[in-house]
Amino acid sequence: MLDVSNLSVRFGDAYALRDASLTVHPGDRIGVVGESGSGKSMLAQALMGMVPESASMSGILKIDGTEMTRATEAQWRALRARRVAMIFQEPLAALNPLRRVGTTVMEPLRTHLGLSRTQARARTLDLFEEVGLPDPEQRLAAYPHELSGGQRQRVLIALALACDPKLLIADEPTTALDAEVAQRITDLLVRLSRDRAMALMIISHDLQVVARATRQLLVMYGGDIVERGETRKILSAPFHPYTRGLLAARPRPQLARPVPGTKRPRLPTIPGHIPALVDLPAGCRFSGRCPAELSRCRTTRSTEFRTGTGLAACHLLNPAERSKS
């Protein structure tokens, strides 16, 4: 239902997203991971046609066969909520504080689907039921500040589901929630994706969330998709040096213990820091921080090669490169 090839988002000469290609089928569950600033949200915004005004989009983005890269705002509006829907990180801020949450969820039902007030109300009650909000009747009249964090996120999920989208993008849906609630929201998203044969894209810093909820994984760095494949396989056998660094840097309880002889717990991090968008190397974005860097990495970008667990864009995988060494 979604066909993306060589999709780029640029601010002047700086690429926030560079030549991204991916295909999404109904029922797919895709995780997107990467450090802050790696372009995860930009990818999501591009799929919604909501990149900042100062950015320019190029490449091919087909939604249900329709090319959308150069679509007008009005054409996008017809797809948002109905084909692609999105939920955001901070559920309190994402809800209009002056509106009852019932009104918020009823709005697209009435404006997009043309339901009457009573129909929209009944439909909203069903949605609240579906996303597991307790006492749906009472919740209709509640204001966002009267709900808990998990309940707010459920309201936003109900809103996103209102027009029966084929793809739901969740940008850090659980970051603002505590661990237990986060897990329940994650499981809810998976269940909805299964029940509705709806594709799900979860963007997260939290590898546990991604491991729990998704079957495919995109690893992003500096606006590039550097590795992709089955979530489980990549998490157990990462190939790309960046993915390895990212997995090694993940906080794990057993590593949080102080290393004997030192005071501080040893938390491995990827050496170096993420350069600003304009300072990224032209070739592989990770060159300069990469422990296995080759001389050509900095200037030429690698195509994707098979890794055994999926695909990775890395010169180390190039057979020509391997025969040299």
Binding site: M50, A81, E107, P108, L156
Partner: protein, 315 residues
């Protein structure tokens, strides 16, 4: 909510009492002898002394203050020194005109401000935005009375669409409305320009918030996002300024009524001051202050009506 109302009403009464003391004190240190005003310069000293006793002017100030307030509580504002009729009647005759003008001025101010401010914010950084900014700068810079004179010259003298001034009385409703059009515009243009800028910056701030992004992601039309989601959230600062401006509108009507020869409270204040009609001036100043205080009270209640979070905290 009811506790909030009770507390605010208590505050309101205390504020008005404080104002009345200040007004009374100021009016009574001003030079001028009411007996002279009433009897004229030909009156003998004895006659003036007798009248002062009759008016209670020789009583100590606190006694006179208490008598004044007690009278007002009964609806008796005293008798005008210059007109010789009850002040309450003078005010009652002229209040509808001034209130109509103040309300229509505020209404037009709001319409101008919301339309221009929201339009400007939605065109942020583009030509439309600049046009509104420049126009509003002009509007702020122009004095209301000067704009009033321009309006009269153009629409009354040249085009003859509206009367240049005067008021036919409420028995002629259409004529009354026609004679209020130009004063309303003169009154609202300046305030509208100020408020448009407030609306614009408030809306721009709200447009950056996450829930506006949610509304856009829901596929709602820009107009709907603007009017249903941005506007209500942008309204709180706007209403604050409206409340503060209302004092300006009321004093503005005093000026405007004099430019357009409208027989409202503004004209009455002018005449009473010129006539040293202290008791009338005193009552009028208190009225104006009361109107302004009441407007601010209304603003506080409006906050609670707009924002459910505030309502919850006040309950």
């Amino acid at each position: 909510m009811s506790f909030f109302l009770l507390r605010r009403t208590g505050g309101l009464v205390l504020t008005l009492l404080a104002i009345s003391i200040v007004v009374f004190a100021v009016m009574n240190v001003l030079p001028g002898d009411p007996a002279l005003t009433i009897l004229g310069i030909d009156a003998t000293d004895d006659a003036r002394a007798a009248l002062r006793v009759q008016l209670g002017l020789d009583d100590p100030a606190p006694v006179r203050y208490v008598q004044w307030i007690a009278g007002i509580a009964r609806g008796d504002f005293g008798t005008s020194y210059s007109f010789g009729v009850p002040v309450a009647g003078l005010i009652a005759e002229r209040l509808p005109l001034t209130l109509s003008l103040a309300l229509s001025g505020t209404l037009l101010t709001l319409v101008i401000a919301l339309a221009a401010g929201l339009y400007s914010a939605s065109r942020h950084g583009r030509t439309g935005d600049w046009a509104v900014m420049i126009l509003s700068q002009l509007g702020i810079a122009i004095p209301a009375f000067w704009l009033a004179i321009l309006l009269v010259l153009l629409f009354a003298v040249n085009l003859r669409w509206f009367p240049p001034g005067g008021f036919p009385g409420w028995s002629d409703p259409l004529g009354s409305l026609r004679s209020l059009v130009l004063p309303t515009i003169a009154l609202a243009a300046v305030q509208g320009a100020v408020l448009a800028r407030v609306t614009r910056s408030s809306a721009l701030e709200v447009m950056r918030l996450d829930f506006v992004r949610t509304a856009r992601a829901t596929g709602l039309s820009p107009a709907r996002v603007l009017w249903r989601h941005v506007l209500p959230n942008a309204l709180v600062p706007v209403i604050t300024i409206v409340g503060m401006q209302f004092a300006g509108v009321v004093t503005g009507t005093i000026v405007i009524e004099n430019v357009f020869y409208l027989p409202g409270l503004g004209r009455l204040i002018f005449q009473s001051i010129a006539n040293r009609d202290i008791i009338t001036v005193q009552a009028l100043v208190l009225m104006v202050a009361a109107v302004v205080v009441l407007a601010n009270f209304a603003v506080d209640v409006a906050y609670a009506l707009i924002d459910p979070r505030l309502k919850a905290r006040l309950a």
